[in-house]
Symmetry: C2
Subunit: 320 residues, 2 copies
Amino acid sequence: MKILIPGRIIVKKFVGLSAFPLTPLFQDQVDESALIGLVKRLRCAGVDSIAVLGSTGSYMYLNRSERARVAQLAVEHAANVPVIVGVGAMRTSQVLEHIDDAVAAGAKGLLLAPVGYQKLGDQEVLDLFRAATEHSDLPVIVYDNPGTTHFTFSNDLYARIAQIPGIASIKIPGVPEDPIKAKEHVDAIRRILPPHVSIGVSGDSSGAAGLIAGCDAWYTAVGGTIPQPMLEITRAAQSGDALRAVEISQSLEPLWSLFSKFGGSLRISAAIAEYFELVEANCLPLPVQGLNSEQREELVKVLGQLGLDEKLGHQANTGK
Amino acid sequence: MKILIPGRIIVKKFVGLSAFPLTPLFQDQVDESALIGLVKRLRCAGVDSIAVLGSTGSYMYLNRSERARVAQLAVEHAANVPVIVGVGAMRTSQVLEHIDDAVAAGAKGLLLAPVGYQKLGDQEVLDLFRAATEHSDLPVIVYDNPGTTHFTFSNDLYARIAQIPGIASIKIPGVPEDPIKAKEHVDAIRRILPPHVSIGVSGDSSGAAGLIAGCDAWYTAVGGTIPQPMLEITRAAQSGDALRAVEISQSLEPLWSLFSKFGGSLRISAAIAEYFELVEANCLPLPVQGLNSEQREELVKVLGQLGLDEKLGHQANTGK
């Protein structure tokens, strides 16, 4: 996306659909062939970027060498689709090591959440982002995921971090359901960011609403496993057809409702990938367990009801 | 502590004062000589056990080899004082690796918190404790620390976990301030635990209240740096002199009030250790920063006011 302001062109990085694949495990090891299959599937679907080692990619459960390998494989098989690599870790020095590995792999961007065991303060988080941006030339996406990090960003902190050279995007949690409030919410963040910093919405049920409210990107978790409907929503919103974007998103309501019911997108994404045999059974890192059999039945019913069943089955066969 | 019930003697493990030393860093490396100094200091003070790699020992910030080394050094320098090693990690397989290292080091017990990036359910936590207890013969302490893990145990879950062979103790968060409510709280937990499972209170300002309410142990964070007052409280409570225990704890009120004011015990423990030159400056793992200079001044004033200043200065010189 290019923004013309007097005297210069500002190119925003990270716009459109950024899809977050799982890092599937098999017997507690990264399942490399399944990971490659998921990455290829996203490339073939035509997503705008692929973000490995996000929350959906279980970054906090993997050790350094596993993470380096995931980054390497993703870049190798994403071909011309830019790969973003999650580099969050408990300790700043570990974040810098992950950045080294992402650079070596050929990543095009870094995703950094302020992960904490001890509760972090604003200054600590600001200094973390400063250290990360100074460590490489790769653009950094600020990963605001309060549900997992338990850190809450204020708009003021967004603004302070976004001033740091190297910050390219803010990944915000969902937006309010009401379209007017969603627009106000995104506008308020937009006003305090430099023009080159993009805003990306996450929280899959908020994707359409976020894009319509003016977000530049949609960082989608479940879209890492089923990209097609999320791409349709994104392309509709990008072409200005807000009504169509909302329609598609609303048609997925039975799926969105399972997100709150089953506690988030990771277990659902894994169950979908397992159902379509894109990955082996029990692909999540223990102690995290997958959905139970009753939940899986309900999910499969919803997939069938939405017609995703057939579409995905087909994609599953061609993508891998 | 021995409990006589018909036909057998039950020996409770982990009673009295269990002190949690910092794992001090220097230039992002474990400061081994400072760690040894802290461990020796606790041994000389006469604590009942030393728990390394608890939250105060920054376990979640250290990698496997660092953690193995800390366990090894602690056992080596604790002499006859039993050493408990924190083995919590994001992934079950990592927990098992840390258990292997703790066993190899000669630990006498394991401390395990259900750490989560993804929110865990009760069954997942139960299975984690089952895997940990089955992996070695060392007794396991259930580490309930909702402020850092964001996992909330119910009494029902305590009961289910405590049934697992190998579970030796539950480390509960603070107890209610009111002595009657504190007693009811501890009694309610006691009733659902097998008799060999001890209850240990944490939350330093709750130590006296917890012991008086019937807890068997006090798992103390700041007592890992200043053991003396915590030992006096513990010995008073153990000898049945509840009044004396409360008196000492109340005299420390200016210190306790800083815990809530400055956000927990880790940064305060580190600032005390730095002030007495038991460790180098900035001994915490970044991004966690120490107290700012204003907070340090306030802390030093409180230490002086409590007479801990002189006592500790003396201990600092002899302990190392």
